[in-house]
């Protein structure tokens, strides 16, 4: 199809879809969704913040699979090939590096805080992991030489850790009573914090590796 | 009556299936092993079929084996008198043809593949014979399509590929029509075993239109392989296949599978009374008559020997349908007995044609002049079978036509005898000239490529022996028609009628 008719067709259909969506949303009833159930169950979970409770307890299985998506994305980019060059040139001069020297520890601190804060307020593994990853990306970008990344096994374990810990805790629920992806009563808070920490580390590492866009080590086929 | 060891039926299928599958994976040069497997399977099959024959005839056993395919639908193998008629024909002729094929294909490439598919074909044919219901028959019928196609292609020439394509187009189409019809019938009436006088009469006249449409679809589906008139044109083209294939498959297995299916549908699904009441027998008869005449006329104008035989097959197979459509026991006997008679006579003719082609390079009827001096035994066999086809007493073909004639009179349609006479005249017109010039003419030119000159026999013994055996068989079936295990005897047993007598009891279907 020629670009122009295609564009017209797509534009027309998109506009129609927009109208339909708006009118459909207009008609939907106001309801409180699941908030009542969540509020009712908050007493039975170890964390105080409802969003974290949904993420890591009520719908923990979603979150497990979501972390699996991140890990799978890393494996998929690795399978595409090696990252030959870093995505950007390092910036020369003392300002950048001096600034980073302060920024990176600060970002790590912030990330760590966010993970911990997720138990009670806004925050959590993903927010914390994202901040940590940002510091990692800055580190990668600022480094003048090829990054001296850990050996493949270390990397692999690092990216897998979050899913593995979560899965292990989920499986532990089977013999312990609450079932798959359930926490034994009283253990919720500790286990959720463990999962959050592992998840944040893995996510941070994964995001940095995704930023590289390929395997950061040489394989036989790379020649 | 209690069903006896159904495993016998499975064993009969396996006698050709197992060697067939094994042979595929043999190397080309494993001649001895391949031959042993072929022959052992063929002999064993004949032995098992004879055991069943005795069991059914003497002890009145019925054999049944079933596996569930889908809820309410079973794969049923059953041996009744009618299925044994077809099974014993296939088993016997398979044995003979295997010997012939080993001789015929000596030294040619890809014999493992050939014999593999050959055995699969026979398995499918025997499966059709022992099918206890329409679903099972459909399954084996389609399997036959699948297994025959590579044999049509076997020579690998562009011509055989064209023939293969046409064969496949016709048979897959027929198979699809049949599938649709059988599913429809199953939805309507459930999946039931074949029973004498059919199982559909309760649905008439409520579902009259559906039953008529189904009848048309079923006949069309089976008619493709039986080479009924508008659906016949694959058969002459398929003659590009090697002679044993033409002989066994196109003269016996494939077309007979179609004809046998029609017999089953008319007798054991609808039942004669219902079919007559529905008024479908008369159109079927006209179709058969048209095919008989058309096939004969085309044969008369075909100069290629195998093509002439193929059109003759088109014509002769419709005798079976004609017999069935006469709707009386005598006509049905004539039709059914022709299932065997035509098979044996036609295989003789194809063997002879193969011998002529292999030994002297003769492919056209005009080249047969003086062949009797060079190959007297083969021409003698050809003569016997040709006369049989024409219906000269005491050959087997005469018995057929006699009973068909009786059947026509019995059902008050004496004019059908005129059709038989015309057909016989046409048969004579296309069979007698080659026979005559073969005995009394002279070679118009030296043979294309002559082999086996100066040998003790006129051709390879593995080609000659089977030819003579089937020729004698054809003669014997005519001479000894009233013996208990002769085809006629067996057909009388099927219908519970003493040979040579009238219609004192018409069982109408399979099984005593």
């Amino acid at each position: 199809m020629n670009p122009r008719p295609l564009s017209l067709l797509s534009g027309g259909l998109s506009a129609l879809l927009a109208l339909l969506l708006v009118s459909a949303l207009w008609d939907t009833p106001v309801h409180e969704g699941v908030s009542a159930s969540v509020a009712g169950a908050m007493g039975h979970t170890g964390v105080a913040h409802p969003v974290t409770a949904v993420l890591l307890d009520f719908r923990a299985y979603d979150t497990l699979l979501e972390m699996a998506v991140v890990l799978l994305a890393v494996l998929a980019t690795w399978s595409l090939g090696r990252c030959d060059t870093l995505p950007a040139r390092p910036v020369q001069g003392p300002v950048m590096r001096g600034g980073l020297r302060h920024l990176i520890p600060l970002a790590v601190l912030t990330g760590g805080y966010l993970i911990w804060a997720g138990g009670a307020g806004s925050g959590g593994a993903f927010q914390g992991g994202a901040v940590l990853a940002a510091s990692g990306v800055m580190w990668v970008l600022a480094w003048p030489r090829r990054p001296d990344l850990p050996a493949p096994l270390g990397l692999r374990v690092g990216v897998t850790l979050g899913v593995a810990v979560f899965l292990a805790i989920g499986v532990a629920g089977l013999p312990l009573g609450p079932g798959f992806m359930g926490y034994p009563p009283g253990w919720s808070y500790g286990l959720i914090l463990t999962v959050e920490t592992a998840a944040a580390c893995s996510i941070a590492l994964s995001l940095v590796l995704l930023f590289l866009g390929g395997r950061p080590w040489r394989d036989a086929e790379d020649g | 009556m209690e069903a006896q060891g159904g495993y016998m039926l499975v064993a009969i299928l396996l006698t050709s299936l197992a060697p067939g599958v094994t042979i595929f994976f043999l190397r080309e040069e494993q001649f001895a092993l391949r031959t042993f497997l072929n022959m052992a399977g063929a002999v064993f099959k004949v032995v098992l079929v004879v055991a069943l024959l005795v069991g059914v005839y003497r002890e009145g056993y019925t054999y049944r084996f079933s596996v569930t395919l889908l809820p309410g639908i079973d794969l049923v193998l059953a041996a009744d008198a009618l299925s044994l008629l077809f099974a014993s024909l296939s088993a016997t002729l398979w044995l003979v043809t295997t010997v012939y094929a080993i001789g015929y294909l000596e030294g040619s490439p890809r014999r493992s593949r050939f014999f593999g598919f050959f055995s699969l074909c026979v398995s499918a044919t025997v499966g059709i014979a022992f099918s206890g219901n329409l679903v099972t028959m459909l399954i084996f019928y389609e399997m036959l399509t699948l297994a025959t196609w590579p044999l049509v292609l076997h020579r690998g020439t562009p011509e055989s590929f064209r023939a293969g394509r046409i064969y496949l187009a016709y048979t897959l189409f027929g198979g699809s029509v049949l599938l649709a019809a059988v599913v429809w019938l199953t939805v309507l009436a459930g999946s039931r075993d074949f029973t004498a006088d059919g199982y559909l009469s309760a649905l008439y006249p409520e579902h009259g239109t559906a039953l008529t449409a189904l009848f048309v679809l079923l006949i069309a589906g089976f008619g493709v392989k039986a080479a009924l008139l508008p659906l016949h044109s694959w058969l002459p083209r398929a003659m590009v296949a090697p002679a044993p294939v033409s002989a066994l498959l196109h003269a016996v297995a494939v077309v007979k599978a179609g004809a046998f299916g029609i017999v089953r549908v008319v007798h054991d699904v609808y039942g004669i009374p219902l079919a007559v009441e529905m008024g479908v027998m008369r159109p079927l008869m006209w179709l058969a008559i048209a095919t008989i005449v058309y096939g004969s006329v085309r044969a008369l104008f075909s100069q290629d020997l195998k093509r002439r035989l193929a059109f003759s097959t088109v014509s002769q197979v419709s005798y079976i349908v004609l017999g069935v459509s006469l709707a009386g026991p005598l006509g049905a006997m004539g039709g059914l007995v022709h299932l065997v008679h035509q098979g044996v006579m036609k295989i003789t003719l194809f063997f002879c044609a193969g011998n002529f082609a292999e030994t002297l390079g003769i492919h056209r009827t005009g080249e047969m002049g003086g062949v009797g001096r060079r190959m007297p035994w083969t021409l003698a066999a050809f003569t016997l079978a040709g006369l049989g086809m024409i219906g000269v007493p005491p050959m087997a073909g005469f018995i057929t036509k006699w009973y068909l004639g009786l059947g026509a009179l019995e059902s008050g349609q004496g004019w059908v005898i005129a059709v038989l006479v015309i057909s016989s005249l046409l048969n004579a017109a296309y069979f007698l000239p080659p026979i005559l010039i073969g005995w009394f003419g002279c070679p118009a030119a030296p043979w294309d490529r002559e082999r086996f000159r100066g040998h003790r026999l006129e051709t390879h013994w593995m080609l000659l022996l089977p030819t003579l055996m089937v020729a004698l068989l054809a003669l014997g079936m005519g001479l000894l028609a009233s013996a208990p295990y002769s085809p006629l005897g067996w057909v009388s047993f099927i219908f519970g009628v003493a040979p040579g007598h009238g219609s004192e009891g018409f069982a109408g279907g399979a099984g005593p």
């Binding site: 459909a24 969704g33 979603d62 079932g179 | 699809s176 429809w184």
Partner: protein, 484 residues
């Protein structure tokens, strides 16, 4: 909260084992093949156990972590899910065995194993999920694993095909997610069962149905949204092609069917269902004609998937045909999955023996010299056509029977005509193998691979006797609306 029932235990292990295998294989790629082998055997046994569980105890819907929907996520282990799990396990087992002979042992090739196990884990999660948002996450897992598998061979064609597939996959997922948003806005729940109870026919529901259906149809490669499929399935490595064609498109179909059986049951009007079925029939013919005109082996097989997916969409008109009408299409999933996996495996053998060239004319020479693979190709082809003694015949029979029982004989005509078309391209593929001339066995192909290919072909035959059992298993699916 309440104790775990046995059904959930089976379901949980069906999620845990492939996921754990995938994690292990990712950490330790060099042991990938052994991890994959152990995992596939284990998952196959678990799938059998789960099916036995459904068979004896009936369907089970259970909630994870003890949180009952709408709060938590429910898993559904019913006949439909168990059947799909079994099909995935069966195909997975054979593809795994085949890959042992396909994937080189040198370092980097081993990445296949982890990706394959990820795909399997994702599919198992997809089949078991009872929550529309959770299904979205599983869909994304499937898309990413599939993309990586398509791109695995690394050539330009493979990368381009992977990119196109990813784009279509993501677009489909996003359309699906908007549908989820609409559903949640309308009903405030995500559980399939609860959504089914609320039902409804308003604009939001219709729009959600449209968005989700179109998104999933794109993922299932239903004509005319199929253009991404032939290059993607044609350029992936053979075992990956087998998985993609046999299972991945079925995953999208499964969700679509599941949605129409539950959430959108009130919208299943005859017109809509006939439209879906009609598109399926168009796919049958378009895919068939494209297969017929393909001159290379893998595109031929890939286009045939486009055609066969069309048959699956007969499930929708059959939904209204009476109780369990849709069972026919689900059974066809098993038939097509086994046949198509076998065809791709055979194609992989032939292509490799022929030095990477898969033009039909030159592959024929190799076919003549490789009876094991050719035999497998023949049987799988026959199953695709629906010829007897194969599972394809039984599936076609059930389709026809359903069509005729429901009085919609025109679907039967379509099925029969489509079967003839299938016959035309399958026999066109097989025909050249019978041309004269010497065979050429070409480059060596591990006997293991040829053996596994043939074994899967024999499974196509054996499953022909599993029709009753399969239908009984599928029937153990509670359906409240049409089709129940």
């Amino acid at each position: 909260m309440e104790g775990m029932s046995d059904g959930l235990t089976w379901a949980a292990w069906l999620l845990i084992v492939p996921l754990a295998g995938a994690l292990l294989a990712g950490v330790w790629p060099r042991a990938g093949r052994w991890i994959a082998l152990a995992t596939s055997v284990l998952v196959a046994l678990l799938a059998l156990g789960a099916a036995a569980q459904v068979w004896t105890q009936g369907p089970q819907v259970v909630s994870l972590g003890g949180w009952v929907p709408p709060l938590g996520i429910g898993l559904r282990l019913d006949g439909l899910a168990a059947f799909m799990l079994l099909v995935a396990a069966l195909v997975g087992l054979f593809v795994g065995g085949y890959s042992l002979g396909y994937i080189p042992r040198d370092g980097h090739g081993e990445r296949f194993w982890a990706l394959w196990l990820w795909l399997w884990a994702a599919l198992n999660a997809l089949f078991l999920s009872g929550d529309v948002f959770n299904l979205y996450v599983t869909l994304e897992l499937v898309v990413l694993a599939s993309t990586a598998l398509v791109a695995l061979s690394g050539g330009a064609a493979a990368l381009l095909a992977a990119m196109r597939y990813l784009m279509v996959g993501l677009l489909g997922s996003m359309a699906y997610l908007m549908g989820v948003a609409l559903l949640y806005t309308q009903h405030g729940v995500l559980d399939l069962g609860l959504l089914a109870q609320r039902g409804g026919e308003g604009t939001a529901m219709m729009l959600a149905a449209t968005l989700m259906s179109v998104g999933l149809m794109a993922k299932a490669a239903l004509f005319p949204l199929h253009v991404w499929l032939p290059p993607a399935h044609g350029s992936a490595p053979a075992p990956a092609s087998a998985l993609l064609s046999a299972l991945v498109v079925k995953g999208a179909f499964y969700i679509l069917l599941r949605l129409w059986l539950t959430v959108f049951q009130d919208l299943a009007h005859p017109g809509v269902m006939q439209l879906l079925g009609g598109m399926g029939m168009l796919a049958v013919f378009w895919g068939g004609f494209m297969s017929l005109s393909a001159d290379r082996l893998k595109p031929l097989v890939a286009y045939s998937t486009v055609a066969q997916v069309g048959y699956l969409f007969l499930a929708f008109p059959f939904l209204l045909a009476g109780p369990g009408g849709w069972h026919a299409a689900v059974f066809l999933v098993a038939a097509h999955a086994t046949a198509k996996a076998c065809l791709f495996m055979a194609a992989g053998n032939l292509q490799e023996a022929n030095g990477g060239d898969d033009r039909l004319a030159s592959v024929a020479e190799v076919m003549r010299a490789r009876p094991l693979t050719s035999f497998a190709l023949g049987i799988a082809g026959a199953s695709l056509v629906g010829l007897p003694f194969t599972v394809g015949f039984v599936a076609k029979w059930i389709l026809l029977q359903t069509a005729i029982t429901s009085g919609a004989a025109f679907w039967a005509v379509g099925v029969v005509a489509g079967g003839l078309l299938t016959g035309a391209y399958v026999f066109r593929l097989l025909g050249p193998a019978f041309r004269p001339g010497p065979g050429r066995s070409g480059r060596p192909v591990p006997v293991l691979r040829e053996g596994v290919t043939l074994a899967l072909a024999l499974v196509c035959v054996l499953l022909g006797f599993a029709g009753s059992a399969g239908l009984r298993l599928i029937a153990a699916t509670p359906v409240a609306g049409p089709g129940g």
